[in-house]
């Protein structure tokens, strides 16, 4: 019997099992032993209530070498202490079974379908989930440039919307699937190129979203104090790329938000909510401090068109209108509807209900506003013409020069904003542009610059928008595929379409080539000395954040710098 098995104080039946096993290679023994060693340490008699204690003892003693490839996810799960007990035991059970049986049929694994999903937000996870379900032999690896998964669910959803983040539970279940692995801190482009990925995997699905912004292209856009809403949202959500944004909230009482979509409403609401209410959310600490010292009391939500065209939805509007002690100003003159407006609203339930809410808010506002009260102004029919520079503080924004607009129907029957030649200035010290996200192209990837997406047909990447050839084995899902629109659930249907395309293609052209898959990826990353983050490592971050958060009455205290995040993963 190999020595590491006798060291493992495992129960005699396992030893019996091992020796009676018909598995030829000794790898499964080592693999099973890793699992059990970690177990033994976990369940030593001196630690009787390891599953019930709130802060389980450290499990660093597992000296067994990390198991190979897909078994790593299972072993990792075993050493994670804040797993649900049933999941722990299920994974332990599966790891023994899986290890032995998988190794026995190891020749089959090299013929299994190797899939890589780039991006671990909703699009990535829904795609992974559907691929795992549709193809029982598929091995899915999800890579993300951040050490933390879940994309915008973690870094985009507002801190005061915790229910929207519950979907993370579903995604975690996918990550815990035996055939799925997460690789964080792996950037497509710098850590690994697209061509390298396509060599290692049969199928590559790009779901890396839209990490840039549309630009207005007007003078003064580079002035200090002008930020994109995306950066501001990442800042208050503790995204490690923007923890140093340090927006100046102390030298002005007015902020202008350009755009009237849900992201615009989010940033306005975070600026206007009382810090006390925010202090019990998972807002990043540096943001909470800044907002507690903020002098901003007035926020303008400015749209180029009218209330009928406002891009926000009822839930978010209802929420912001219900903020306590908030004076909401909507000019009644702006609420006059034209026949084109009526036509637009006729078949659009969302527009109808949003308009009703705005109308009600306009007429029901309190007659007088007290001084120091926070104000929200819905400003319609204003197009930004240029940003005004401060005379006192050179290089800083002082206000926005707007052109008044009117609506006109274009050739496609849509109402667009046309300048009237009349102008108006609104003074402010902070501008947040919330006019839309944009995807970033990478080397070797076809990209449609005007639409900001990867050209594709039903998720199959094509070489150009003008009907080029299909790029073999390359697919897209999510915002990268259809543009930055929709809600989390939209990706459910999007992923279904992409996976249907993948399945059709696999059926038509049977997978015969052997690809390195997960082992190839690990090998490549190790050669490049890239310290990738596993899902188990993320769970260490998760545990740490929740632990510190609970001391402060928050659901979690986000680790907001690269150093902090990566340090915890090494523990």
């Amino acid at each position: 019997m190999p020595s590491y098995i006798s060291k493992c104080a495992g129960p005699p039946p396992l030893v019996f099992f091992s020796s009676a096993s018909i598995v030829p290679s000794f790898l499964p023994f080592r693999f099973s032993c890793n699992t059990l060693c970690c177990w033994c340490h976990s369940f030593r008699p001196s630690l009787p209530s390891v599953s019930t204690s709130p802060t389980p003892p450290p499990l660093s003693k597992c000296a067994a070498p990390p198991p190979l490839s897909d078994s790593s996810s299972a072993a990792d799960h075993v050493v994670q202490r804040h797993h649900r007990r049933s999941t722990l035991s299920l994974h332990s059970a599966m790891s023994i079974f899986g290890g032995m049986i998988a190794r026995k049929f190891s020749s089959a694994t090299t013929r299994s379908l190797h899939v890589c999903v780039v991006g671990s937000g909703p699009a990535g996870f829904y795609t992974a989930e559907k691929m795992l379900k549709a193809h029982k032999g598929a091995e899915v690896d999800i890579i993300d440039r951040l050490p933390t998964p879940f994309g915008l669910v973690r870094s985009g959803v507002a801190p005061d919307h915790p229910e929207t983040k519950i979907v993370i539970n579903q995604f975690s279940r996918v990550a815990h699937n035996e055939r799925c692995s997460f690789f964080g801190n792996v950037t497509l482009g710098s850590s690994i190129s697209l061509s390298e990925l396509r060599q290692i995997y049969h199928v590559v699905v790009l779901a890396y979203g839209a990490e840039s912004d549309r630009v207005l292209g007007i003078p003064g856009e580079e002035l200090k104090g002008v930020h994109s809403a995306r950066e501001f949202v990442w800042w208050y959500n503790g995204h490690p790329d923007f923890s140093n944004l340090t927006p100046d909230l102390k030298s002005t009482d007015t902020a202008i938000v350009l755009g009237q979509g849900n992201v615009a409403l989010d940033v306005a609401r975070i600026l206007l909510r009382s810090p006390k209410e925010l202090s019990t959310t998972d807002i990043a600490n540096h943001a909470l401090t800044a907002l507690s010292e903020s002098s901003i009391r007035k926020v303008y939500l400015v749209g180029r068109r009218g209330p009928v065209q406002a891009a926000c939805t009822a839930k978010e509007l209802r929420e912001i209108l219900a903020i306590k002690d908030l004076y909401v100003n909507i000019k009644e003159a702006d609420l006059v509807k034209t026949s084109s407006d009526e036509e637009e609203m006729k078949n659009n339930r969302i527009r109808k209900r949003v308009f009703e809410l705005l109308s009600k808010a306009s007429t029901s506002r309190s007659p007088s506003q007290s001084s120091g009260q926070r104000e929200l102004h819905f400003t319609f029919f204003r197009k930004p013409d240029k940003f005004l520079e401060s005379y006192d503080k050179s290089g800083y924004v002082d206000g926005v020069h707007f052109e008044k607009t009117t609506l006109k129907e274009n050739d496609s029957g849509n109402q667009i904003a046309i300048g009237t030649g009349e102008y108006e200035d609104i003074k402010c010290g902070l501008v947040l542009k919330s006019i839309g996200y944009k995807s970033i192209p990478i080397d070797g990837l076809p990209f449609d610059q005007s639409k900001g997406v990867v050209p594709n047909i039903k998720g199959r990447v094509i070489s150009s928008s003008n009907g080029g050839e299909n790029e073999d084995g390359l697919y897209v899902c999510g915002w990268l595929k259809r543009g930055p629109t929709g809600i989390i659930a939209t990706n459910l249907y999007d992923a279904e379409e992409t996976v249907a395309s993948i399945s059709e293609d696999i059926e038509k052209k049977e997978v015969t080539s052997q690809k390195a898959g997960r082992e190839g990826l690990v090998h490549l990353l190790e050669n490049k000395k890239i310290k990738f983050v596993t899902f188990g490592d993320w769970e260490k971050i998760d545990f740490e954040e929740k632990k510190v958060g609970s001391l402060k009455g928050k659901p979690r205290e986000k680790l907001a710098t690269w150093n902090d995040l990566l340090e915890v993963t090494t523990k």
Binding site: T52, S86, F97, E163, A314, I487, A489
Partner: protein, 177 residues
């Protein structure tokens, strides 16, 4: 023999999974996390959400049928139980991303008969807000997580929204009424 032993042990493990709390592993059992004396043949459901399954068997159940692109499936739901929970226990392909907190629209169902739709209680503003965004919305759409089983709903027939759609790059917009 090896396979049958594996099978039996696997069956033991899966039964054991429904047991809580986890106790110190017995050195004698193959799976240290399962106590032999804690195995209970009557408790077969994995990750069971209710503790008193035996009591509930006496209560009445209503029948609900789901229609999707693959066919139809009938399930039985205990009166007073959340419909969405019952649906998940029967492995119907219906998501509940926000787990019933009215923060998504993934549990969207379409009631096939208007009369049955009218028997349901009116949706709240909050439910309507999320229905606004639901995929393939119709006049008789509801969010399933908001419906609790009651006797009048026996024989309810529901359709799941069609799964595949063309996602045009210029933005497919579902057509609500």
């Amino acid at each position: 023999m090896f396979i049958s032993k594996l099978w039996r042990l696997g069956a033991q493990a899966s039964k054991g999974l429904s047991k809580a709390p986890l106790t110190i592993p017995s050195r004698r059992s193959f799976f240290p996390i399962v106590q032999n004396d804690s195995l209970d043949a009557s408790s077969r459901k994995l990750f069971s959400t209710t503790n008193s399954q035996e009591e509930n068997e006496d209560k009445q159940k209503i029948s609900v049928t789901f229609f999707d692109k693959d066919g139809e499936q009938e399930i039985k739901v205990l009166i007073g139980m959340s419909m969405l929970e019952a649906t998940h226990e029967n492995d119907i392909e219906l998501k509940g991303a926000c787990e019933g907190s009215l923060a998504c629209s993934t549990c969207h169902v379409i009631v096939m008969d208007v009369e049955q739709y009218n028997k349901l209680e009116d949706p709240t503003d909050e439910e309507n807000d999320m229905l606004d965004l639901a995929f393939g919305l119709t006049e008789t759409s509801r969010l399933w997580c908001q419906v609790i089983a009651k006797p009048e709903l026996d024989g309810l027939r529901l359709a799941l929204p069609a799964a595949t759609r063309n996602f045009a790059v210029d933005g497919y917009k579902p057509k609500p009424h």
